[in-house]
Symmetry: C2
Subunit: 248 residues, 2 copies
């Protein structure tokens, strides 16, 4: 699938991973010469990658001044959830009118997969990746079923907001996970029966609560969010991030 083997695409992947995993911190200056050397490529593909990421929203750019890892305010993070809630609720409303037997089965299978992963009475570490994938697939499926490709496009780009990313499922409370998965059950059933508004309402709350919960977690365990652990690649030793200008 991912036969992305142009230097530019490689750089995009590497940089995205570095940013979402917290290896590069918000506000960090992205020095072209140094970054290019680090990645072992020249500045041309690097600049192409940065340009792409800038449009994606992961990095910011000012002409003649360079690229920075984008910083997101609390308002932007919660705004991302707000919009996600609205768009995915919309997806539910539309999807309800497009349900086929195949669609019903696909959603049911995903939900059943979730049941299986939660059966132990806890979300075991070795199941976390699978659960996360299931979750992503479920939400993606609903959006695809909506028949409106823009929804998925925009929600996708909201996932580039670090704390709003799909990869963040740091639910410590199993009851929260159970409830969340129960939402999936209900959404799938509502859609199967063509109850679009009902599915939309559940979905909206499903995502709105995720923000509320993130907010709580942020207050309880702030340190966990400064650097997100990457599932496959642990963050490498970061070079000294020298002090930002604190004056002014």
């Amino acid at each position: 699938m991912t036969e992305a083997h142009t230097s530019t695409e490689l750089a995009i992947e590497k940089l995205r991973e570095a940013i979402l995993s917290g290896e590069l911190l918000p506000g960090d200056r992205l020095h072209q010469d140094r970054l290019a050397e680090m990645l072992g490529i020249s500045r041309t593909p690097l600049r192409a990658a940065l340009t792409t990421l800038a449009q994606t929203g992961l990095v910011s750019y000012e002409s003649n001044r360079g690229f920075y890892v984008r910083e997101f305010s609390i308002a932007e993070v919660s705004g991302a959830f707000e919009v996600r809630a609205e768009l995915e609720a919309m997806a539910c409303r539309l999807a309800a009118a497009n349900m086929t037997d195949a669609a019903r089965k696909y959603l049911a299978d995903l939900v059943a997969e979730g049941d299986r992963l939660l059966e132990p009475g806890a979300l075991l570490p070795e199941n976390l990746g699978a659960y996360r994938r299931m979750n992503v697939n479920f939400h993606t499926a609903v959006m695809d079923l909506s028949g409106n490709a823009w929804i998925r496009t925009f929600v996708q780009s909201l996932h580039n907001v670090p704390a709003a990313s799909d990869r963040v499922i740091m639910w410590r409370d199993f009851r929260v996970i159970e409830r969340s998965h129960d939402d999936h059950h209900r959404i799938a059933r509502a859609l199967a029966k063509g109850q679009g508004e009902r599915a939309a309402a559940i979905m909206r709350e499903h995502i709105t609560f995720a923000l509320e919960h993130l907010d709580l977690q942020l207050k309880l365990y702030p340190q966990d969010f400064l650097r997100m652990p990457s599932p496959d690649k642990p963050a490498k030793g970061r070079k000294a991030s020298r002090s930002k200008r604190s004056s002014e």
Copy 2:
């Protein structure tokens, strides 16, 4: 205002204009050497511009195959309106809670400006630009008042869908314009009074109707809108791309 000093930004502007104005047709191959020469720049900034536009959604790209002017299906165009309706309705709901006296005055001024432009009993050609700007400013203002920056970001990118662009106000029927502007009146008043849901409902219909009307216009005067992709549609496979026009 648009002091586009860097070549890349200039190229972005030029290309965007060329695409949205229909000078470049959907499906057209964007040949780097030729385009660079046409624009009087080298391939480096051109590629940067194309990369940006590709992320923006105006052009499509396949590695090692090049850039094309993106083609939008009817479904994507109407999907764009659907999402716009939802997002701008959402903006109304949020904005209603953020109204200040300054905001009320700003919206009122825009509406009054519209009144002035429509007073002649017709939208005179020399007023079309001003009316379009007023319209853009009104919608933008509501989105900004929502306090959620993502809304504006996404709606902005929906305006890159050629037929869904702000620039398309080809309303031939003055009554349609009057009604549309009356919607603006009501939205402004509703927001001023904090009636978020009401404003949202009007806004949703305001945009939904725009799609319906576009649809109608499309059937009546198809040639005015999309100078649709030429007879030979290069779907994947390389075809004789003899679509080059006049100047050589």
